[in-house]
């Protein structure tokens, strides 16, 4: 399969001279299987140029998996042209929001309400199916199997594993490893830590030996203490994940919008100079990168 990073930025698109190298579009990952099946994870602003390319060969058939409905993961969807063209087949997958009691279709329809956007959901002319996923429910897309796992973020967030022809890929979506909410002196600390470890192990087992992982790494070690609980990972959390799960390669993504190309490079150099790295290959996710598996 070929994995194409279409958007690697967190929070908000940041075009401009400081983001030329790594790109300014928000999250979108395109996966093409050896058989040509199209899987897209997340509809950040990176999905717009992807849509324009897909339009060159109609009809378009693809499956879009949404990790969660924070703005930077869906804001490009209303600009994904294949949705507007009759004859295209687009299956959209994501989780039902049990807190706000909304399914995916409702959330996306609201995103397209008249006050925000000039076209209504009902005017999308492609054949669109909306599917509320349950954790662990594997979806077959052509030769690939896509499986969601719930991982920690302020809203329910699915990490997706894509497997095809013996190759495997995983994207975390937005993910901060769960933290112990107790202080070490609290009675409940140990029990809570057991649950945290158990939850982390579920992820580690789920992605054991995966070839390529793209993982949320919005913050540095120094920034993290003031961003705890915001729902994003760090280089440390990514490296820990890579070590525990024996990953082949890991791409740091969800770059903070304030981060310049230069800063990304120097942070990367700094992290790579650490002496305790696992054998996993680490990269900075860059818009336009094609990973062949």
């Amino acid at each position: 399969m070929i994995i194409n990073l279409r958007g690697v930025r967190g929070s908000i698109p940041v075009p401009g001279k400081d983001t030329v190298k790594y790109g300014g579009n928000t999250t979108c990952i395109e996966i093409t299987t050896d058989e040509g099946d199209k899987i897209i994870i997340d509809g950040g602003s990176g999905i717009r140029p992807l849509g324009n390319e897909l339009m060159k060969q109609l009809p378009v058939s693809c499956s879009i998996f949404i990790t969660h409905t924070h703005w930077d993961h869906i804001q490009g969807l209303p600009f994904f042209l294949p949705l507007f063209v009759p004859g295209n087949n687009i299956d959209i997958y994501g989780s039902f929001d049990p807190v706000y009691m909304k399914d995916l279709k409702t959330i996306l329809a609201q995103q397209m309400e008249y006050c925000y956007f000039p076209v209504r959901e009902s005017e999308l002319n492609a054949n669109i199916s909306y599917n509320n996923l349950k954790e662990g429910e594997a979806i077959t897309v052509g030769s690939a199997i896509v499986t969601p796992l719930l991982i920690n973020h302020p809203v329910l967030n699915f990490g997706y594993k894509v497997e095809s022809n013996g190759k495997s890929f995983f994207f975390t979506g937005d993910y901060e490893p769960p933290l112990n909410i107790y202080e070490p002196e609290d009675e409940a600390y140990a029990e809570y830590q057991r649950l945290v470890d158990q939850q982390k192990k579920i992820l580690t087992d789920f992605i054991q030996g995966v070839d390529v992982v793209v993982a949320d790494c919005q913050y540095t070690r120094d920034e993290y203490p003031s961003k705890k609980g915001w729902g994003h990972g760090t280089h440390d959390s990514c490296i820990e994940m890579a070590r525990d799960a024996n990953l082949g390669a890991l791409y740091f993504t969800h770059h903070d919008p304030t981060r310049t190309d230069q800063e990304l490079d120097s942070i990367y150099d700094d992290v790579m100079s650490r002496s305790d790295l696992p054998p996993t290959k680490f990269f900075i996710a860059m818009e336009g990168t094609e990973i062949k598996l």
Partner: protein, 303 residues
């Protein structure tokens, strides 16, 4: 037959305290960065709340692949934010008597309360109210008519007469209450809310859902929203009935509700009710979903 203030207070005294936990959760959650462990502690100290939270998190709604066995586990698994919202929803619905001898139809009562809660929440969302606060709008709608339940429970014979009068003379229930009892359900409802130490704007929204009072402009957005949501629910009911029976007078009644909205409500709403109703075309689906949060005793939600 009118009741006096002492009797009213006596009734309020007899209602069980709103579980302390509910009050504490509402208080805790008004601060955006409430400590997760405090919230867990409150839930864990209330066995009923704990069971309900776990039941909901384990329901088909969440579709989790592991069974969640403790509140701490639920927090690790789905996050503190989600558990906070679940706790607010389930906590606010458990404190009321389930049936009464006055003939107040409890199914209709809940259906209406739920509709007002859902509408108020949707309106709040539309007006850009923060997500953390939206739960209060839902709760406000859910509780606005709670005074009716008290009357029906504690003075069933008198309240039966009230219900009969409202029905036979085709007048609003709160007017019939005022005439026969001397107090209406918004007044006693507000007293209960006070006893439960709910936030001040929630109390005000219950108290003023039929009469905003003189200083319209001083009402908080929550009160305006509950007023608007209540009238919207009535408007929708009337237009629905009208479409089934083709009765002109029902439509006229609906138009009258729209026309007679207090200025402050009209201003807050920004649209006439007729438009609001069009906007709410999928209200039934929303209510269907919200039902899962109201009565968890009737088994798991299925969708």
């Amino acid at each position: 037959m009118p009741i006096n203030r002492d009797q009213l207070i006596e009734m309020v005294d007899k209602i069980p305290t709103f579980q302390e936990s509910v009050h504490r959760i509402l208080a805790l959650t008004t601060s955006p960065d409430c400590a997760a462990k405090d919230l867990v502690q409150v839930i864990e100290h209330d066995p009923i709340l704990t069971i309900k939270v776990l039941k909901l998190v384990n329901s088909a709604y969440f579709g989790l692949s592991q069974e969640v066995t403790s509140v701490n586990h639920s927090v690790v698994y789905v996050g503190i934010n989600t558990i906070k919202n679940v706790a607010i929803s389930v906590a606010t619905t458990g404190a009321l008597p389930k049936n009464n001898k006055a003939g107040l139809n409890m199914n209709r009562f809940w259906a209406h309360s739920l509709a007002v809660g859902v509408i108020a929440k949707l309106l709040a969302e539309n007006k850009g109210v923060g997500k953390n606060e939206q739960a209060n709008y839902f709760v406000g709608g859910l509780l606005h008519d709670i005074g009716k339940v008290l009357f029906a429970h504690f003075i069933p014979a008198e309240y039966q007469a009230v219900l009969h009068k409202a029905e036979s003379e085709n007048i609003s229930l709160h007017l019939a209450e005022k005439e026969l009892l001397g107090f209406d359900h918004s007044e006693i409802g507000a007293m209960v809310a006070q006893k439960w130490q709910l936030p001040a704007d929630l109390i005000d929204s219950i108290k003023s859902h039929h009469r905003l009072g003189k200083q319209d402009s001083q009402h908080c957005p929550l009160s305006l929203a509950i007023y608007a949501a209540n009238q919207t629910a009535h408007y929708i009911e009337l237009t629905k009935e009208a479409s089934e029976s083709e009765a002109e007078n029902l439509l006229a009644q609906a138009a009258k509700i729209d026309h007679e909205l207090p200025e402050a409500v009209k201003e807050w709403l920004g649209w006439p009710l007729s438009e609001v109703c069009k906007w709410l075309s999928n209200l039934d689906d929303e209510i269907e979903k919200a039902l899962a949060f109201i009565d968890l005793s009737e088994g798991e939600p299925t969708s």
